[in-house]
């Protein structure tokens, strides 16, 4: 096959992409076969948001993406939908159902205006009968896709064209756009266009040709930033049709009301993926009432950014490029102080954290970093909370629970008065829903209520009643929710487990008597006997159900840490510093080893910025 072969007129604009796709499918074809095959291909245009087919549909056609971008979503048996790929020009979709005769395995929709080359089942069968290599090529393609070795699943992070809509036309949003362009350079080449520069670059051609020009630009660059006009213009419509993702950039100080630009945008057809909101805060301000911004708009994710804070803008750049570093922290009572040591080690290794989540005490530890506290501040806050305020000190008759929980609620409300939406970093906590026997993910609303539900260890604390549901400790069903993080954030995930039976597994030869156990612990010179104490057994029982999930989480995590905390029980609040230190010492060398394989994760300028902040303070 050569590039001199001429496809029919209606396909000529996509000749290169088409030839490439056919070569992948059939190998080298003679001219006659090629022209026969091309003659069978029909064009199909999808507008932004249109669904090509749904999971479970019958599959009679296979498609080659000629321009635009698709999104592949898979519904799990539990009912949660996951985005698994973004096929782009040259990719083939739908071949699995056509060749296997099975139902469609995923739902595919266009996330921008898309042109497809479509071939029917009969034509494919005729082609395969004539060229047996088609079978082996397709099989190889499917296997690679399923194993994630290549194909569009491997390129799932592919957000390439990002439309920037500045809701407020001040310096802050303009600076953000320029700094974002610079930050994206770390991950690939960038082209930033607005209506004026596009017009200079593409000439005064018709607006409908701009899509083709943008396709070419996209081939030449890793990221296209398309900056919208303030008014409704043809350029804005081109950007809307072409963009994979819309970023709304707003000055937080200006208030959450819908701007005229947005109102015009809302009249456009709904998009497949909601826009992301960037709230630029003045230096020194804290996010407040973010919910008011979100309820007025269809927003996927929101990012809080401090004006002139490069670290915040780089966080957005990592989110766009699919390189966000997420931290998932397991529950484990006082053993969770190890998380603070791990967080310190991550800081010292120069790894930024872009999103946090966890279960039980892991969720509580995650709140510190989500609020922008350093590990030292978090440790000090928790030392005060657990030693001075004694949140678990309101013991009661052990009928409903061992502790009444009122004191804990007061302490949580006092220390965590904000909404989850107002946290600097994306955050979630998980709890176990006794009413539905499912995992509840708390990613909005009052932070203290989410934590109250997530730390409600059965028997110790009463369940938390929220919206008619009884919620208990998240660790009961999913103590290390890496899967929840994976569904939300693209990029490497660092998981910190506190499982007993990991590195610090103790061998029990027999169960000692209480007196023998106490003697071994209290008498000097005697070797301490390891025994399954009440607290240990409670902890293990409550997390037993989530052990299988934890093994899965270990597989899903890019870096799995399990500090050896053998001698520290989950009520050992007095040993917080020692536990944090174990976490730190365990994590630092492992993080450094891991970082050697992932040098792009390191933020070298972060050290300089941190030192400057420190010296200024």
């Amino acid at each position: 096959m050569t590039m001199t072969d001429r496809p029919p007129t209606y396909l000529q604009a996509y000749a290169e992409t088409l030839f490439w796709a056919i070569e992948r499918l059939c190998g080298t074809l003679d001219e006659e076969s090629l022209s026969q095959l091309i003659g069978k291909i029909s064009l199909r245009h999808l507008v932004n948001g249109e669904i090509l087919y749904r999971q479970g549909d019958r599959g009679d056609e296979m498609h080659v993406v000629l321009s635009g971008r698709l999104q592949v979503r898979v519904m799990s048996p539990e009912g949660t939908e996951r985005i698994v790929a973004h096929p782009q020009p040259g990719d083939i979709v739908g071949e699995m159902a056509v060749f296997s005769g099975s139902e469609r395995a995923a739902t595919i929709c266009a996330i921008r205006d898309t042109m497809l080359g479509t071939i029917g089942r009969q034509d494919i069968e005729a082609l395969a009968a004539r060229f047996p290599q088609v079978f082996s090529n397709v099989t190889r393609m499917i296997v690679r896709r399923l194993t994630g070795a290549s194909g569009h699943i491997a390129r799932r992070s592919g957000l390439r064209s990002i439309m920037l809509i500045r809701l407020h036309r001040g310096d802050a949003t303009e600076e953000f756009a320029v700094r974002l362009r610079m930050s994206l350079l770390r991950y690939g080449s960038v082209l930033h266009l607005d209506a004026a520069t596009a017009s200079r670059r593409f000439g005064s051609e018709q607006w409908q040709d701009y899509g083709r020009h943008l396709d070419i630009c996209e081939d030449e660059h890793d990221f296209l930033l398309l900056e919208a006009d303030a008014e409704s213009t043809p350029w804005n419509r081109v950007c809307l049709a072409h963009a994979d993702k819309i970023l709304l950039i707003a000055e937080a100080a200006c208030g959450p009301a819908l701007t005229p630009t947005e109102q015009q945008m809302l009249s456009a057809p709904p998009r497949t993926s909601p826009a992301d909101l960037i709230l630029v805060h003045p230096s020194g301000a804290m996010p407040r009432n973010t919910r008011n911004w979100l309820v007025r708009r269809n927003i996927g994710r929101h990012h809080h950014v401090r004006r002139n804070a490069d670290s915040d803008i780089e966080r957005v750049a990592r989110a766009i490029s699919g390189q966000s570093v997420s931290l998932v922290l397991a529950g484990g009572g006082a053993r969770g102080f190890a998380h603070l040591g791990v967080i310190r080690a991550l800081g010292e290794a120069g790894i930024p954290i872009d999103a946090v989540g966890g279960a039980s005490f892991g969720a509580l530890a995650a709140t510190g970093i989500a609020r922008g506290l350093s590990d030292a501040e978090s440790l000090e806050e928790q030392r005060r909370a657990f030693t001075l305020e004694d949140p678990l000190g309101d013991y009661t008759l052990p009928i409903l629970s061992l502790v009444r929980g009122d004191h804990l609620e007061r302490v949580l409300e006092q220390h965590l008065p904000m909404d989850i939406e107002d946290l600097w970093l994306p955050f979630f906590a998980v709890s176990s829903n006794l009413t539905t026997s499912q995992v509840n993910v708390h990613d909005s609303g009052p932070l203290w209520r989410a934590i109250r539900a997530s730390v409600s260890l059965p028997a110790i604390l009463p369940p938390s009643l929220q919206n008619g549901h009884l919620l208990i400790d998240g660790g009961v069903l999913n103590n290390l929710p890496v899967d929840v993080m994976r569904e939300r954030i693209r990029g490497p995930v660092i998981a910190v487990d506190l499982a007993i039976g990991g590195d610090d597994h103790a061998e029990h030869r027999s169960i000692p008597g209480v007196l023998d156990y106490l003697k071994s612990r209290l008498m000097p010179g005697k070797q301490a006997i390891e025994a399954p104490t009440v607290s240990r057994v409670i902890l293990q029982v409550t997390t037993m159900a989530s052990r299988r999930e934890a093994r899965n989480a270990r597989r899903l995590a890019d870096l799995y840490l399990n500090p050896p905390l053998g001698s520290h029980d989950f009520l050992d609040w007095s040993s917080m510093r020692q536990i944090a230190d174990i976490g730190y010492r365990h994590a630092l060398p492992r993080i450094r080893d891991w970082l050697r394989e992932q040098p792009q994760l390191k933020d070298p300028a972060g050290f300089i910025r941190a030192l400057q902040t420190r010296m200024a303070a």
Binding site: M182, G350, L379, R609, R614
Partner: protein, 408 residues
């Protein structure tokens, strides 16, 4: 926690703020001594007045008890109790106590109480040495009192009031001491927490400083420093070197902000293509690719050029644009510190010399935008599209892109 989220060390202070001025250590000792003298005074006065019926039997001793804490504080109060001279008052306490014991009798409850608290105080403040010295002063006090004939006849056996008083004082004293010790332990705990926090903060600051130092170095050299703790010279056989120069057209001197924007973007692009900036001088940058090929270098140059052609940095006036000019060489090079105290790295070797010569071509040939040394050209996988220019006078032989002078 990313480095950016670092905050200053947390100071631990759980004591609520109070408007009361705290006592100085000398002030505390002064108060304790007044309490001590009041206790002795009360016991002696009670014994003399109520048991013996002779209220002024030891009037002069009562006067001494009333005066000595204040006089002692005036004379010695400013001395540091940790020094020998500062302990003179403790020995005077012993003399007074000895006099009291001589008066009340050594097996009297009040005497035993006074002796016990004196010994306790001495042990706490000065250890065994002060106990020995204090016991001597106690004996001296007893001796002086005996010699002065101040020993009174024993109190009637049915007069138990002094014993009750002594018991009461003992209980009160023990409570006060226990309270003081409790507060001391608490303060020590808080102090330990604060020290720990400070130590953590220092350790963190040290890690940040090390990180900052390593970040400031070229990545390869930083790796060497991080892994081996020192920077050693090394030879790279197939290095690719770039010498970049950014000009403004029409020509003018660039401002610092413009240089900053140029270097920042260029650095990010170069790193992605496998290069590290070794040093910069004004609008020039010396760049090393340890494993990068000449094609990688040309791709990086193209991307930098395209980036600034598409996005004019702030600081350029209308009608101005940036012009990137570059020399590229390849071959063996040696990199290492030439001034360790300044972490000043330098490059030398055949490839570095060839690069300097090629860069000279840019100065002599205004239309040249990219100059490639013959060695680098020989390493290229797709060497077509570049025209050979033989050596001419002071200009070395080199290759330049075929069309116009631009790398693209």
């Amino acid at each position: 926690m990313p480095p950016a989220q670092t905050s200053p060390p947390v100071r631990s202070s759980d004591t609520p703020p109070s408007g009361r001025q705290p006592f100085t250590p000398q002030g505390k000792i002064y108060v304790i001594r007044i309490i001590y003298s009041i206790m002795v005074f009360t016991m002696l006065a009670t014994r003399d007045a109520l048991c013996a019926g002779r209220p002024f039997e030891h009037g002069w001793l009562l006067i001494v008890l009333a005066i000595y804490p204040h006089a002692g504080h005036l004379l010695f109060g400013r001395l540091d109790i940790r020094r020998i001279r500062g302990r003179i008052m403790l020995l005077i306490d012993g003399l007074i106590g000895g006099a009291f014991i001589a008066v009340t009798g050594s097996i009297d409850t009040a005497s035993i109480f006074i002796a016990a608290i004196l010994l306790f105080n001495w042990m706490v403040v000065g250890g065994v040495a002060l106990v020995v010295a204090g016991a001597s002063s106690l004996a001296a006090g007893m001796f002086i009192m005996g010699a002065a004939g101040g020993i009174a006849p024993p109190a009637p056996a049915d007069c138990s009031l002094p014993d009750w008083l002594a018991g009461l004082f003992l209980a009160g004293y023990l409570l006060i001491v226990a309270g003081v010790l409790h507060r001391l332990v608490q303060e020590l705990g808080l102090h330990q927490v604060a020290l720990q926090a400070e130590s953590d903060a220092l350790r963190h600051a040290k890690a940040l400083a090390e990180g900052a130092l390593i970040s400031a170095l070229p990545s390869g050299t930083a790796r060497q420093l991080a892994n081996h703790g020192k920077i050693e010279s090394e030879t790279i056989d197939d290095a690719t070197l770039l010498l970049l120069r950014m000009d403004i057209a029409p020509p003018r001197h660039p401002a610092l902000e413009l240089l900053g924007a140029w270097l920042q973007a260029s650095d990010l692009i170069l790193v992605r293509h496998g290069f590290e900036m070794i040093k910069t001088f004004g609008s020039r940058a010396l760049v090393l690719g340890r494993t990068a090929t000449p094609e990688d270098g040309i791709a990086a140059i193209r991307e930098i050029e395209a980036y600034f052609s598409n996005h004019a940095p702030a600081g350029l006036a209308d009608g101005e644009h940036l012009l990137l000019r570059a020399a590229l060489s390849s071959g063996s090079v040696r990199i290492g510190p030439v001034q360790e105290e300044r972490l000043n790295l330098e490059l030398c070797g055949a490839a570095a010399d060839a690069l300097a010569e090629a860069f000279g071509v840019l100065a002599e040939v205004p239309e040249a935008r990219l100059v490639i040394t013959p060695a680098a050209h020989a390493r290229m996988h797709a060497p077509a599209g570049y025209v050979f220019h033989p050596a001419d006078g002071c200009l070395p032989s080199h290759y330049r892109p075929a069309e116009s002078g631009t790398p693209t």
